[in-house]
């Protein structure tokens, strides 16, 4: 296999399907996530109202993005923060690296941020020669293994506990001596603490940007974001512009939806608000506080019929409930964001040409939208991408001619009747005991499932004959 072939969606999916270890790892996490979410939603009588409200808050902000950007910037500046705008991933990385250089930083700590992954920040920091310490436990695992995240909430979901134990034993200075979870966490803590304390710059993401105060809200379960952002001299927040909310109550309304949908908990362990740098009399906090607001295709999505995608809270529920994700895992998608939301976003970020498989590799069963806490019409958006792909001529010729021929026939009922009669006669030739075990041109089906033998005559033929017999 050439490299190009090995790097197609189908090849990656095929490799994932053959990896039973991966399937075990996926199931362990997503099954629990589904159960916990279900319990959380069942115990929240106002869920569907909260969900409507959440979608409305996001839509309102997206429709008034300019207004809230200006308001946020003004208030953030007033609190002493320095606000930067980045229109692309490259710009955003350059800004962050420049801030680090200006601060004469040698090492940076980073807490988990999907936006950081989206803009390729880990790579940019490494390239710039900055020592990078990933403080989120899962991101730490991903970094040790030279991996990529495979889930937006649990980046190391593709690794089993057994894998991780081995990884720690290989890389940690004083690894755990037992493989139970507390011992492993303690090992990671020993490894990471030094990095926390020595870092010059801390980089975090944001879950909400609160326009009327200029504050930034982050949620974590490990408390690593707090250590990332309070100890170093400089704190940099990178955030997508869609993270804006008008005010604190809006952030809380969305936070409740986010946390319940992601982990089924009522609230995350740590919910932190940052507002400006350390002030006179503050005991801790950074000397400089930068906020990098990133567009990277978001404004363009408004004009592409993808505005609703900007509601996304990055909760991961859509992938936890996706039958395709649950078979192939996150890496097979090939983009930063996997699962249903990734299949919608990757064509925006990487172009439709290289990601057209993602928008087709979906059964359109609708469960993702059903569990999405802000009711994003993910199936309709994937269908929208399929339309664009068809209109732009990106669909393979075989596909186009097949659909074209089929449409030619179904729009001519008499021809269709003729063809249908012929088709079932032919199919019946392949059947043994009511089933077809192998069928040329349909080996995708028959290599793994049987195909039922059709009836002797079509319904239409039988029905017309009956009508004639009855003299109707």
């Amino acid at each position: 296999m050439t490299r190009a072939e090995a790097d197609t969606f189908k090849a990656r999916a095929g490799a994932a399907l053959a990896d039973h270890h991966l399937k075990t790892a996926i199931d362990r996490t997503t099954r629990t996530a589904r159960q916990k979410r279900e319990a959380a939603v069942a115990g929240w009588p106002g869920f569907s109202r909260a969900r409507d409200l959440g979608a409305r808050i996001k839509d309102h902000v997206i429709e008034n993005l300019d207004h809230y950007l200006i308001e946020f910037e003004r208030n953030a500046r007033a609190s002493g923060a320095i606000v930067h705008y980045a229109s692309s991933a490259g710009d955003a990385c350059q800004i962050v690296v420049r801030i680090c250089r200006d601060a004469k930083a040698r090492t940076v700590t980073r807490s988990k941020s999907m936006l950081g992954e989206e803009i390729g920040l880990p790579h940019a920091l490494d390239e710039a020669g900055l020592g990078r310490v990933e403080t989120d436990l899962a991101e730490h695992i991903v970094q040790l293994a030279h991996d990529r995240p495979s889930h937006i909430i649990w980046p190391a979901l593709h690794r089993t506990r057994e894998d991780i134990a081995a990884l720690f034993r290989e890389h940690h200075h004083t690894p755990q001596n037992s493989d139970d979870i507390p011992a492993m966490v303690a090992s990671a803590r020993r490894q990471l603490r030094g990095g926390f304390l020595a870092a010059d710059v801390g980089i975090s993401g944001a879950n909400f940007l609160i326009a009327d105060s200029g504050a930034v809200c982050t949620v974590t379960n490990e408390g690593n974001a707090e250590l990332t952002t309070t100890i170093p001299r400089v704190h940099i927040v990178t955030a997508g512009i869609e993270k804006l909310v008008p005010s604190l109550p809006h952030a809380f309304a969305l936070l409740r939806l986010l946390v319940r949908s992601a982990t089924g908990a009522d609230i995350t362990q740590y919910t932190t608000f940052h507002c400006g740098p350390k002030r006179a009399g503050d005991l801790d906090g950074p000397e400089a506080f930068h906020i990098v607001l990133v567009d990277n295709g978001r404004a363009r999505m408004l004009g592409q019929g993808l505005a609703e995608m900007l509601r996304c809270l990055r909760c991961g529920a859509c992938m936890n409930h996706c039958v395709v994700y649950n078979e192939i895992g996150g890496h097979a998608y090939g983009g930063v964001y996997p699962g249903p939301m990734g299949a919608v976003l990757t064509p925006v970020l990487d172009g439709l040409e290289t990601s057209r498989d993602l928008v087709h590799a979906c059964t359109l069963n609708g469960r993702c939208q059903e569990v999405c806490p802000v009711d994003i019409p993910l199936p309709a958006m994937l269908r929208g991408w399929r339309e664009k792909s068809w209109a732009q001529g990106l669909e393979p010729v075989t596909q186009r001619s097949f659909i074209g021929l089929w449409a030619f026939v179904v729009t001519r009922p008499r021809l269709y009747r003729l063809g249908a009669g012929l088709a079932i006669k032919t199919l019946r030739l392949f059947a043994r005991d009511g089933w077809i075990r192998a069928l040329p041109l349909a080996s995708g089906w028959t290599s793994t499932r049987d195909f039922p033998k059709p009836a002797r005559r079509t319904f239409m033929a039988q029905y017309q004959a009956q009508k004639r017999n009855r003299g109707l």
């Binding site: 189908k10 999916a13 095929g14 399907l17 039958v323 395709v324 078979e327 192939i328 087709h360 590799a361 979906c362 059964t363 359109l364 069963n365 609708g366 469960r367 939208q369 269908r383 991408w385 399929r386 339309e387 664009k388 068809w390 209109a391 669909e395 596909q399 186009r400 659909i403 074209g404 089929w406 449409a407 026939v409 179904v410 729009t411 009922p413 269709y416 249908a420 079932i424 009511g434 089933w435 349909a442 995708g444 089906w445 290599s447 793994t448 499932r449 049987d450 195909f451 039922p452 033998k453 059709p454 009836a455 002797r456 005559r457 079509t458 319904f459 239409m460 039988q462 029905y463 017309q464």
Partner: protein, 250 residues
């Protein structure tokens, strides 16, 4: 009397006429005047879901013309009914005249089981079948048309039939129309999990409301050597459960 146009669906026409006969019989028993327009073929989903909007529109216009004179259009499929009901109007977003016609048709289009239960208040009498069955909610019916309660309610009046809940019932079977042809190995992995769940019920029968999904699951069960037999729910309600199951056509 309600004048109903039966939308046969291409899969019932080609592979499983018994499903359409069952639907016609049920509609008659529920007091409808049933007709089967001869100009029908397919609802156009393969084109629509492939992104070929132009062909999807051409097919939709034909379906609309063939069915718009009926009081109701009823299909033994959640996904075909869902296409007409929810997606036809969208197809003509920029064409006011056809949009109105599409919306008129959409408002009168139903899936068979929910139509029997909700519009006709029908439930089968004197239908008996001594068997155990598990019911899979096919995704378009469940999520687009909110069909969940109706098939269970109607099946509960079939004497002797015992319904066994299907674990993880809400997850898709992996059929997905053209999906199962374009990504057969992913589709297979999904239906394999579904088959494991179906077998775990130890039911005699698998029931559902969409032939595409049923053929997918039945084909997988058969390849796995399982003895569970699959029927469209309409066949059971029409008292045709003693006939050949899917894959037992003479």
């Amino acid at each position: 009397m309600r004048k109903v146009g039966l939308f046969v669906t291409c899969l019932a026409d080609l592979f499983r006429p018994r499903t359409a006969f069952a639907a016609a019989a049920l509609l008659e028993r529920a007091g409808c005047d049933v007709e089967v327009p001869r100009l029908q073929t397919c609802c156009g989903q393969p084109a629509y879901n492939s992104g070929d909007t132009q062909n999807a529109r051409r097919i939709a216009r034909r379906v609309i013309s063939a069915f718009e004179t009926f009081d109701y259009v009823v299909a033994p499929s959640g996904s075909c009914a869902g296409t007409i009901k929810l997606h036809y109007p969208d197809l003509f977003a920029d064409d006011p005249a056809w949009r109105t016609r599409a919306e008129n048709l959409a408002a009168r289009t139903c899936e068979i089981v929910s139509f029997l239960a909700d519009v006709c208040s029908y439930s089968p009498r004197d239908v008996a079948l001594a068997a155990s069955a598990t019911y899979h909610d096919t995704c378009s019916g469940l999520r687009e048309l909110k069909i969940e309660r109706q098939p269970r309610a109607l099946l509960s009046s079939v004497k002797g039939l015992r319904l066994i809940p299907l674990p993880d019932v809400q997850s898709c079977c992996g059929f997905g129309g053209t999906f199962c042809v374009k990504y057969p190995s992913i589709s297979n992995a999904i239906v394999d999990e579904k088959a494991t769940n179906i077998e775990s019920t130890k039911a005699d029968l698998l029931l559902g409301g969409d032939l595409g999904c049923l053929m997918n699951m039945a084909g997988k069960l058969r390849r796995r050597g399982s003895a569970i037999r699959a029927f469209h729910v309409a066949e059971i309600l029409a008292g045709m459960g003693d006939g050949p199951a899917i894959g037992e056509e003479p």
